[in-house]
Each structure stands twice: as structure tokens, then as C-alpha cells.
């Protein structure tokens, strides 16, 4: 939704609590702990009008329910009924509080070994490809077809679009505000994004 107008005022809330209701605490924790993959991917497939109407944790809950059923963790019937089907196998060893504390306070790494040398170097002029996939992508619409400059090569991270987790070079690419938004934008303002190599071509 980057660059869209008409979404209303931002409305910061003074002294905002971490959670606003008990159900938000539980929804967040359950979503973190449920044995599913790709919660963000599921949340992005919530139909647009519903997505905008939902609050943040309603989206988490909706995405979690989608992922649970799609990945066969629970059946749609179990979800609707709220009780387990006795014929289905049960988990035996869910992650405990110590596992959680360790996972939340120790950093893993999203960096992967690249199979090929990076195609671009800092300073190279590139264009974001005009890709419009139906599924998941992390290439925002507002940079597609726009020219920018490679600012930094981070190494390689799993490429989100294929879902296969193949490593691709990741770069910070800087776009001038005028390239993105036209001459009304301030001359020296810019927007930088972290983009995978398949999103980019030499300009």
C-alpha cells in the first residue's frame, strides 16, 4: 500500500500499551507458537477489503487459521467445532517456556550462502523490474519500473517469491523521491528498500 492516498490520519495513541486486550495477548502468543510456517504469507492472502477492515491481531488470527488448515495441522471441522477430532494424532512435545525464551533472545541468521556472485555492486544503477505476480512478493508496487542506485550488498537471503527458499543476493537500493513520486517531491529526499537480485535489472 506504499504511496496510496486516502487512508486517513495516523492517530498515534499516547502511552499505548503493548496489547490492548487479553485476546490480543493470546492471539499473538498462539500465532507465535503454533506449528505453522509462513504466517506473513497467509496474512497477505486475506482478501483486500477484509484485510483493511481487520485490526492487526484479527489479521494474525485469520492468517493463523488459514495456515493451520492449509498445512494440515488442524482440520476445518476441528477449527469450526473448537474440539479435537479423537481420530487425529496428537502432538507430544510442544515447545516449552525455556525454548521460547531462548528463541526470543538469541539471534539466528537469515543469511544464506549465495550460489552465484552478486550481479551488482554499490553505485550501480538499476531498475526494479515490472513484476506483477499473483502470489507472494516483497517487491512493493511503488518501485516497479523505477530506477535506483545500489547502496549496499547485504549477502544473500531466501527469495520470498518462489516459496522454495532459494538464496538470492539482497541489496539496499536507493530511489530518489522524484523518481518515485514526480517533481513535486523534495529534491534531496529518497526512499531505500531491501530488494532481492531477481527484482532488479541493470539500468
Amino acid at each position: 500500500m506504499g504511496g496510496m492516498h486516502g487512508m486517513g490520519p495516523i492517530a498515534p495513541e499516547p502511552d499505548e500499551p503493548v496489547f490492548h486486550a487479553e485476546w490480543e495477548r493470546r492471539a499473538f502468543a498462539v500465532a507465535m507458537m503454533a506449528p505453522t510456517r509462513g504466517g506473513r504469507y497467509a496474512r497477505e492472502r486475506i482478501p483486500g477489503p477484509e484485510y483493511l477492515r481487520m485490526s492487526y491481531y484479527e489479521r494474525w488470527l485469520a492468517g493463523l487459521c488459514m495456515a493451520l488448515v492449509e498445512q494440515g495441522v488442524v482440520t476445518a471441522e476441528e477449527l469450526a467445532r473448537g474440539t479435537a477430532d479423537p481420530a487425529k494424532p496428537k502432538g507430544t512435545k510442544p515447545r516449552g517456556p525455556d525454548d521460547v525464551r531462548r528463541a526470543l533472545t538469541t539471534s539466528g541468521s537469515y543469511m544464506r550462502e549465495a550460489k552465484t556472485a552478486p550481479a551488482f555492486s554499490p553505485g550501480d544503477r538499476v531498475r526494479a523490474r515490472n513484476l506483477n505476480p499473483i502470489g507472494h512478493t516483497r517487491l512493493p508496487r511503488y518501485v516497479r519500473g523505477r530506477q535506483g542506485v545500489i547502496e549496499r550488498h547485504h549477502g544473500a537471503q531466501a527469495y520470498p517469491d518462489t516459496g522454495a527458499g532459494d538464496a538470492q543476493a539482497l541489496y539496499t537500493v536507493r530511489f530518489s523521491a522524484r523518481e518515485l513520486w514526480g517533481m513535486d517531491a523534495a529534491e534531496h529526499d529518497s526512499v531505500s528498500l531491501d530488494l532481492w537480485e531477481p527484482y532488479l535489472e541493470r539500468a
Binding site: 506504499g2 504511496g3 496510496m4 492516498h5 487512508m7 486517513g8 490520519p9 495516523i10 492517530a11 498515534p12 495513541e13 503493548v18 496489547f19 490492548h20 486486550a21 487479553e22 485476546w23 490480543e24 493470546r26 499473538f28 502468543a29 498462539v30 503454533a34 506473513r40 497477505e44 477484509e50 477492515r53 481487520m54 485490526s55 492487526y56 484479527e58 488470527l61 487459521c65 495441522v73 488442524v74 474440539t83 479435537a84 507430544t92 510442544p94 516449552g96 521460547v100 528463541a103 526470543l104 533472545t105 538469541t106 539471534s107 541468521s109 537469515y110 517487491l139 512493493p140 547485504h154 539482497l170 539496499t172 536507493r174 517531491a185 529526499d189 531505500s192 528498500l193 531491501d194 530488494l195
Partner: protein, 201 residues
């Protein structure tokens, strides 16, 4: 998932059905042996008590007072932040963005709500909501004004849209007249919004 009420994006008065649905889901996963209730409590406790903007403020105050630390933060922010004990999920790959008299940095996640948990905790509702996510990239000066932050025209704004697994922390400029303050007193001056970039200190 039909709602028959006027929705607002704050979640303060949730439809009672959602609280019930969450409860039902939790008990289903419990019954299936897929989640441990003590682990759920540990998650909530972590985000309500262990992480939050106070962590990031200590990083900023250290950067203000220790030039060698600031240099390490520039070179490898993940490692420099870990020196102060802050690491973990959503802080795996950190980049520090230094504000200067010429450049002001502003962080957004237009695609979802990526946010550096170890140093800032969970994001506020406005950060995750459509108005901020849509407008921060196209109208950063308007967004700053909405936060009461006026930026001179000759200060360039650099917006950072966290589209991958890299997380950003803004290092605000040290306010004038704070030479006498120690690190702890300086940390108290650093606000969450200052480290997102919607405020100047």
C-alpha cells in the same frame, strides 16, 4: 468474518466473538498437544517486560557518549547492539541510521509491520496501520508534521522501507545542552518515535 459494527483499527473494544474465537483456538491447540500454555505466557511476558524502546534508548545513549561504540554501530549494528545484551527474533540483522543536521531518517514497513523487536519491542498500532504504511514513503514531511515534527526544507529525508530481513534503528541527534548528562540520563531523553524517525529529540 462479518462485522456489523463500525470498525476502528485500535482493538480496544473488540467484538466479543473474537475473544471467544481466540479462546477456542487456544484450547483446541492445547487439546491437540500443539502448544504449551506456559510457553504462551512466556511470550506475553517477554514482550510486555523484557523488550521495548528502553533497550533501544540505551543503544542510542551509548552511541552519543562513546565514539568507538558509535563506530562499531556503523560497521556492524547487530554486533554492537548485542554488546548491550539485545538480540533475538526480529533483530537478527540490524542497521543503525544516524541522523545529522543534514539528513533525517524515517523507518516504515509498507508491506507488513517489520520492526526491530529486541530494541523497540512490538510496534505501536499506528506503525502497523494503513495510514502510516501508505503515506510514509510518499509524504514523509506530512507524516512528520502529523507527529508535530517540523523539518527545515534543507534537511533531506531518507525513508527506509524494511522489505527484507534487515531491521533499522534510527540514532537521533543528541539534543543540545545535554553535555552534563550521563548515559542513563541521556537514555531517558530518547523516545520510541525518535528511533523510528517520526520525532526529533
Amino acid at each position: 468474518m462479518a462485522h456489523d459494527h463500525d470498525h476502528h483499527d485500535h482493538g480496544q473494544e473488540p467484538p466479543s466473538d473474537i475473544a471467544l474465537r481466540v479462546k477456542a483456538l487456544e484450547s483446541l491447540l492445547l487439546e491437540k498437544g500443539l502448544v504449551d500454555p506456559a510457553a504462551l505466557d512466556a511470550i506475553v511476558d517477554h514482550f510486555e517486560h523484557n523488550v521495548g524502546p528502553r533497550n533501544g534508548a540505551r543503544v542510542v545513549a551509548r552511541a552519543w557518549t562513546d565514539p568507538a561504540y558509535r563506530e562499531r554501530l556503523r560497521r556492524d549494528a547487530t554486533a554492537a547492539i548485542a554488546e548491550l545484551g539485545y538480540a533475538g527474533a526480529q533483530g537478527e540483522h540490524m542497521v543503525a541510521l544516524e541522523n545529522t543536521p543534514e539528513v533525517h531518517n524515517l523507518v516504515v514497513c509498507t508491506l507488513c509491520s517489520c520492526y526491530p523487536w529486541p530494541v523497540l519491542g512490538l510496534p505501536p498500532v499506528w506503525y502497523k496501520s494503513a495510514p502510516y504504511r501508505s503515506r510514509a514513503v510518499i509524504d514523509p514531511r506530512g507524516v512528520l508534521e502529523e507527529f508535530g515534527t517540523e523539518l527545515p526544507d534543507d534537511v533531506a529525508i531518507r525513508v527506509w522501507d524494511s522489505t527484507a530481513e534487515i531491521r533499522y534503528l534510527v540514532i537521533p541527534e543528541r539534543p543540545a545542552g545535554t553535555d552534563a548528562l550521563d548515559e542513563e540520563a541521556l537514555a531517558a531523553l530518547v523516545s520510541r518515535d525518535g528511533m523510528i524517525g517520526t520525532a526529533r529529540l
